[in-house]
């Protein structure tokens, strides 16, 4: 039972996790990118598109990644190159890409709502033999797919990059103090562009996981706010990749609970609210804790100087 839950949590957290790691790069580099939702959606569509026309899930994933990168490059173009306001462009891009996916769905595939077809090949899942019966550990090795594995690798990779590499330092300083970074010779523009490309790749993988991961279909608006949940995870994490992982797993658990409870008699509407309420509760919790922390620090500082 616990294992089934773990399997579900891993599967559901993966898209949010991938997006969140991408958002982490953007945030640390000083780019406020709120277009993740739309980017993930476009990637989800292009993943299905690629898989449909090529019969291969690998091509599907590549298409999804390409779509993510293109969307991010568009954001970079309008924002970095042409001086657009990041919040406006990001917000508007979500509308743009939602409209674009609906447009493409209806004009290319001539269906509305969802695209379900046997031509769409999903990502195969695999299981590491031998350990499946063990509680808890078994949940981590059963029914995985490459995207879920990549999601977790990306978190640890991000952690490593930020803590140990020159690149990580450059990103952190571009975000922390871009003018100082520029005087030292860091190409802030290039770093930000790189961060956006990385975000594009990761959101592309996230979209692929959504539409090809365990289901093989595309539904209009299927991201359902996950891009924003990823943003909340990054805001809560305040730069720590491990915290991003923790928060994302929490959201995955909330979504898993929501799916699980739908099997019972509770009203589906109430259950659908659960993940979003969790986000709000988490935000409130974090803010209240921060306030307490500040007060404690102020009090102790006053005591020290008294």
């Amino acid at each position: 039972m616990v294992n089934t839950w773990i399997i579900a949590i891993l599967r559901l957290s993966a898209p949010i996790l991938l997006c969140a790691v991408g958002s982490l790069f953007c945030d640390r580099a000083g780019v406020t990118n709120i277009s993740l939702e739309g980017t993930m959606l476009l990637a989800a569509f292009m993943g299905v598109f690629g898989s449909y026309y090529s019969g291969s899930w690998i091509i599907g994933i590549l298409c999804a990644v390409a779509a993510g990168v293109l969307a991010s490059l568009f954001f970079a173009l309008i924002t970095l190159k042409f001086g657009g306001a990041e919040l406006v462009v990001g917000f508007t891009m979500n509308v743009l890409l939602d409209g674009l996916t609906v447009f493409m769905l209806r004009s290319i595939f001539k269906v509305s709502g969802s695209l379900v077809s046997e031509k769409v090949i999903g990502v195969p899942s695999f299981t590491i033999p031998g350990l499946t019966k063990i509680p808890v550990i078994g949940g981590f090795v059963t029914d995985l797919n490459i995207l879920v594995v990549l999601a977790f690798i990306s978190v640890f990779l991000a952690h490593f990059i930020f803590k140990r590499t020159h690149l990580g330092l450059k990103v952190l300083s571009s975000g922390e103090n871009p003018q100082a970074a520029a005087t030292v010779g860091i190409n802030v523009y290039g770093i930000r562009l790189l961060a956006l490309v990385i975000t594009g790749v990761l959101c592309g993988l996230a979209g692929a996981q959504l539409s090809l991961g365990y289901l093989s279909m595309f539904t209009e608006g299927m991201t359902a706010g996950r891009g924003f949940i990823a943003l909340v995870a990054v805001m809560f994490a305040r730069g720590s990749s491990m915290r991003v992982l923790l928060v994302t797993l929490l959201f995955g658990a909330a979504e898993m609970m929501s799916n699980y409870l739908q099997l019972f008699q509770y009203s589906s509407y109430l259950i659908l609210m659960i993940p979003y309420l969790c986000v709000i509760l988490l935000t409130l919790l974090q803010l209240i804790l921060e306030q307490q922390g500040k007060k404690k620090r102020m009090i102790s500082a006053r005591e020290k100087t008294a």
Binding site: G83, G84, V89, F91, T92, V95, L96, F103, Y269, L287
Partner: protein, 369 residues
């Protein structure tokens, strides 16, 4: 993450250029569907302005955007991000529908006012949490407000399903019964669907413009939005303004739901809003966060929507194309340096030079002297 946003005034030439680029991109998409862009844009124009019913359609689609956009504008001017307009209009719609049904005994004017006030109260309540998050807890209100949108939509559907479903309904749409006859907003020119909701919206926009520009309260709001430290130094209770702005924004958003219910659908229906909240925010951005700019923005977006419906009926091109064009236009409007980059400034100078050369000789001599 940096959520600072200060709206710079939008120059007319930037807007026109952005519209041109957006239409160009739309043309490319139209070509992909195998249609002739000129023909399709012709349909769109006819669908928006070509006949009395087209103009009515444009106004009908602009009306909810006027309310939602006004809500967004008020919030933006006060330095707040009300991304929760969608949720607020849903609760407002439900509130208005319920008062519309259960208040049937009241005299007509009171009943109509009661519906609207209930909707405004509901929207206001739904805006309280984001306001608290910003003012009391120091967090950003944008994303919690967005989450509340999803909560609102599900909550309203749940309430209808549990308590307010009329008997003998087995349909898929969660909807309440129709509101009382007397509450339905009258059409301005029957049989076209434009109701007095549009007139009320127009009046509100004018009121908002004058309030923001010529009253003390408006000054406080604008200063808080433009530079809150300066405002605070000048004695403005910045946090108070922020809360009031957010609550007012929520109330107007609730009113949007009410007008849609009372004027068009005549009942609360699940999913009745095709993203009016988001579109309202976009209309506000298009209008540079000024009430009269919003008027133009909302009318433009209403026109594009009306046109896109006709295009969908006549040529089968999905109406989502309009969303893409609208969103691209706003992106391009925001891209201030775009026109510079593409050499529009040089083009402008060249054109001006040409005009000078054709001016009468006397004028030139005065300038060079």
């Amino acid at each position: 993450m940096n959520f600072d946003f200060r709206q710079k005034p939008i120059k007319v030439k930037t807007a026109l250029f952005a519209v041109m680029l957006g239409l160009l991109a739309g043309a490319v998409l139209i070509l992909f569907t195998g249609n002739n862009p000129l023909v399709i844009y012709g349909y769109m124009f006819k669908g928006a302005f070509g006949s009395a019913s087209s103009i009515a359609s444009t106004l009908r689609w602009a009306t909810p955007l006027l309310y939602a956009g006004l809500a967004a504008t008020i919030a933006f001017r006060g330095g707040m991000f009300n991304f929760g307009v969608e949720g607020q209009l849903y609760v407002g719609a439900l509130a208005a529908a319920l008062v519309g049904i259960y208040g049937a005994g009241l005299p007509k004017i009171i009943h109509i006012l009661a519906c609207m006030l209930a909707a405004m109260a509901a929207g206001l309540v739904w805006a309280i949490l984001p306001a608290i998050i910003r003012v009391k807890l120091g967090g950003n209100e944008a994303i919690p407000a967005m989450m509340l949108n999803y909560v609102a939509m599900n909550l309203c559907d749940f309430l209808v399903q549990r308590f307010f479903l009329p008997e003998n309904t087995f349909g898929q749409t969660m909807a309440t019964a129709n509101v009382a006859e007397q509450v339905k907003l009258a059409k301005i020119i029957p049989p076209y669907t434009v109701t007095y909701g549009f007139v009320i919206a127009f009046v509100l926009i004018v009121v908002a413009h004058f309030m923001l520009k010529y009253t003390k309260a408006g000054y406080r709001i604008s200063m808080t939005g433009m530079n809150s430290e300066f405002a605070q130094y000048g004695g403005v209770d910045v946090n108070g303004v922020r809360v009031k702005v957010m609550l007012l924004s929520g109330a107007v958003a609730g009113l949007c739901g009410a007008v849609e219910v009372m004027g068009v659908t005549w009942r609360y229906e699940s999913g009745f809003s095709p993203d009016f909240g988001i579109e309202g925010i976009l209309a506000s951005l298009l209008g540079g966060n000024e009430p009269f700019g919003l008027l133009i923005g909302a009318l433009f977006m209403g026109a594009v929507k009306a046109g896109s419906l006709v295009v969908e009926r006549s040529a089968g091109i999905p109406r989502a194309l309009a969303e893409v064009i609208k969103a691209l236009i706003i992106c391009f409007v925001s891209a201030r340096l775009l026109s510079e980059y593409l050499g529009m400034d040089r083009l402008e100078k060249w054109l001006k030079g040409k005009l000078k050369r054709t001016a009468p000789a006397g004028a030139n001599q005065v300038k060079e002297g």
